[in-house]
Amino acid sequence: MNEEMIKTTVFERPKSLIDTDMHYCPGCGHGVAHRLITEVIDEMGIQGETIGVAPVGCSVFAYNYINVDFSEAAHGRASAVATGIKRVLPDKFVFSYQGDGDLAAIGTGETIHTCNRGENILIIFINNGIYGMTGGQMAPTTLENMKSTTTPFGRDASIMGYPLKITELVAALPGTYYVTRQSVHKPLNVRRAKKAIQKGFEYQKRNKGTCFVEIVSNCPSNWKMTPVESNKWLDKHMLDFYQLGDLKVPNEKEA
């Protein structure tokens, strides 16, 4: 019996991730989040059964990177658009992909009510505490004292209110089935985030309610840091406030 060492591929670009340059800034978490979605879609073999809804924000062109049918929503309305799609095509996997302005500012009404109705969709919420595409203004999730172009002296809660923990709000609604907060700034977190996204897709078949996966992410450009610095800052400051972990998990007995 002989043995030979052969080289096997243990990690490569997923098939559903379109082989093109993504426009995101160097080090931006969007790229990882997109890749994880496509890994899950490929592993579950559901490329032909999945319909995504893209937001307005940096990820407005998500459909140029994730190779599934997509609907481009008006700002904030992605979960309503996803509702429309899922209600008429209940057998498809429907997900929305939204940033903090889209989901927790202009889209708050739609977010709350989609979750309250328990729409059987997956909402992926990328929270980087700032408005990226429009150049770095305050987001509902901007931390207190965090600087942005509209809070140049730091967010003052007495004027601008407090950072909004929308994930905690939706977890309290009976319509949500699985609510979790993850991040993609370290390898371990990337693995956990992928598992969360996988659950988000798998649970959809149970028709038990909305799956909501928040991914706390960096924004090196608008935080004015290098990518490596931004992930360290995220680890120290963002995760201190937006704590990682499951906020709501299904009762496995009923699964």
Partner: protein, 95 residues
Amino acid sequence: MAKAKGDITIEIEKCKGCELCVEACPEDVIGMSTEVNQKGYLYAVKVVDACTGCTNCALVCPDAVITVFREVKQKKEQVATITNVTDNITVTVDK
């Protein structure tokens, strides 16, 4: 127990020089180039042959530019001995 042996390839023209892979690698395999790619970014390069194929770098890479390989033992069983060959012989095995 010996460490696993791995390898990576990097699509340097897609790399945006974010250095997250450098930070993530536990074996300090990756460093940054001294020349820029077509986009003007310094890009990630293998600087030492110590890769274990852990995939940490690829996990954190936002642009999916890294492919990771691992050397695995492949068992081989001798199935035939052919001697005194003067011509080509083709042997196929069903996989």
